[in-house]
């Protein structure tokens, strides 16, 4: 991984939202949706971002695309700082990054024919003539597995899976290098999910795309990602190659997440990491480690200091004090902690 080319680098990114003045929280309450996140994306890879609702994964994606204004930190795309860019200068970068949204019902204009929907970004960003655009649209719709007839129809005439294909065609229209997919298959039935995932992987192979794939579904993430980052309350608690994360999760939250997935297994009872309660409010996050209130292994230190991401091995980084020294790691791995 080390000799791979970095496409996008994010460092110490913060996105805060002001919250309406509230006497309980003090006047200048802020919601820390993305709270000090650093990560790199390599060309051609898929980085999965997984987390529960409210963990800030969507805001992270939207901030990278500059759909939200970052409060602090850097976003470097192909060596260029883009966090400060405004409208015109930003357009050039917008060409290269596109987004696929979760809701295929809300993200397509119901009054526009499919043809127009896919053509619009081409019109916006390129100088192609009308007939060239038409050709391109036709090529795209066939690439995503729909037929020419689809172009003359309106969004409501399609099923969820087909609409998601249209959304993908639109995202691909201007040959982006980088695509952020925010829960692209969550609204689809299982049998359709796999069709769309397969399509996304085929397109990645064909066009050398880089994906940031946001989902709450660990099985979907496992399927499509090369590396996975686990988010909790605006922070990354663990980032690792897919295989090591699923075979040997380190952070207690990752372990809990993995053990909570219902699986088909009649032979052995799984041991579950019991976590209680729910995600605390990002307006008033706990001091220290964000997870300490729900963590079954919390120590005194976790309540005071915020753990930083630390490299445990080549494949894996984790933000947890349990891995501070070797002794503790061994004790930890050897004990009753579950191998999921």
């Amino acid at each position: 991984m080390a000799n791979k080319e970095v496409l996008l680098k994010v460092s110490h990114l913060k996105t805060y939202f002001p919250v309406k003045a509230n006497f309980k929280l003090g006047k200048r309450a802020v919601l820390k949706a993305v709270d000090d996140i650093s990560l790199s994306l390599y060309k051609g890879e898929t980085l999965g971002i997984v987390g529960e609702s409210g963990s800030g994964k969507s805001t992270l994606g939207r901030t990278i695309l500059k759909l939200e204004e970052p409060t602090d930190g850097e976003i470097i795309f192909e060596g260029q700082h883009i966090e400060k860019l405004k409208s015109k200068a930003l357009q050039i970068y917008r060409n290269q990054m596109q987004m696929i949204f979760q809701d295929p019902f809300g993200s397509l204009n119901p009054r526009m024919k499919i043809e127009k929907i896919i053509e619009e970004p081409i019109k916006m960003h390129t100088t192609l003539t009308k007939s060239e655009r038409k050709e391109r649209v036709l090529e795209l719709i066939e690439k995503v597995g729909l037929s020419e007839e689809a172009l003359k129809k309106l969004p409501h005439e399609f099923s969820g899976g087909q609409r998601q294909r249209i959304g993908i065609a639109r995202a691909l229209a201007i040959n982006p290098k980088f695509i952020i997919a925010d829960e692209p298959v969550s609204a689809l039935d299982v049998s359709i999910q796999s069709q769309v995932l397969n399509l996304m992987m085929d397109l990645q192979d064909e066009f050398g795309l880089t994906y940031l794939f946001i989902s709450h579904d660990l099985s979907v993430i496992k399927h499509i990602s090369d590396r996975v980052a686990v988010m909790y309350l605006g922070r990354i608690v663990e980032i690792a190659s897919k295989d090591s994360l699923y075979a040997n999760p380190l952070h207690p939250y990752t372990k809990a997440l993995l053990s909570a997935i219902p699986v088909v297994n009649f032979d052995q009872k799984r041991e579950e990491i019991p976590i209680t309660g729910e995600l605390p409010s990002p307006v008033n996050p706990p001091v220290g480690c964000a997870f300490h209130q729900r963590c079954p292994f919390a120590m005194e230190k976790c309540k005071q200091e915020r753990p930083q991401l630390k490299e445990i091995n080549e494949q894996q980084q984790v933000a947890c004090f349990l891995y501070d020294d070797k002794e503790e790691i061994e004790k930890n791995l050897g004990s009753s902690m579950v191998q999921v």
């Binding site: 049998s191 359709i192 995932l197 660990l218 997440l257 997935i261 219902p262 088909v264 297994n265």
Partner: protein, 342 residues
Amino acid sequence: MKSSTVETNKHKEVLLEVNDLKVYFDINRKKVAKAVDGVDFSIHKGETVALVGESGSGKSVTSLSVMRLIQMPPGKIVSGSIKLDDKELLSLPEKSMRRVRGNEIGMIFQEPMTSLDPVFTIGNQIIESLVYHQGLSKKSARKQAIELLNIVGIANSEKVIDGYPHQLSGGMRQRVMIAIALSNNPKLLIADEPTTALDVTVQSQILKLMLKMKDTFNSSILLITHDMGVVAETADRVLVMYGGQIVEEAEVKELFLNPNHPYTMALLKTMPNLDQHVRRLPSIKGNVPPAHMFPEGCRFADRCEFAMERCRLVAPELENISDGHKVRCHLPFMKGGEALGQ
């Protein structure tokens, strides 16, 4: 997390019996959507039955029919009978049906935000049902409501009871829904995708709670879901629906280890799971046919990889292939498709 299958055999007393249920919706003068088209099943006392299928398969319409919550028109129950404890629900006058809903049958919906009334406090909504069905005084109903909130695991229930739905998180709201559904000790709990809108860690808490409540109150559950993992961990018996019909029915273990309908097999193969190491997921081609234009023969034939000429001409019947295992298919697989090579 689930009661063993041996246990299921013990309580063979039937609680709910649905026979030849047909629910159609008029789309316009010419088109009729056959959302549920001849469904038979039964639920035994103390049993958890999962109803599985994709969107458009008719699973929600089936459950709404049991509650008699189908909007008519455009819907109409064309034929069939639904018996709860030998009482025919379909011929019950609306007034008595209202006594059944919430009292004998409790229901949990997918969207806890839309199924709670935003302008009433949590307390009001629980108390309402207690006062209506059990004739309690407001004061004692409030006491019991607090008790119920404690049972479903809501911390500081005395405060929450005076709060409004928007002040609670999704998981908490679903707990409140469960408290309301269970407030009158229903014999049957219908849960329509109860955890689909929730995060995995909360999902496992809610599922455990539902099963615990089932045991505490000795009720039965009809669980509607599309998540096979949830089915495997919670259900005793499974009904697989496709195109308004049940295509396979079996005890949970039997269904997963020895699926016989090509649709069930495909469904099990396509779900992304944690043990898979393939790059391309197998997928089912095409989409569920819309309910107003089902094909003449088998409704799955167009998407089935084993379809024969006969499948397109003759609609298969739901047949018993072994004890408690029923399949609607012309192909007798018997050994999970091994005979034809998967």
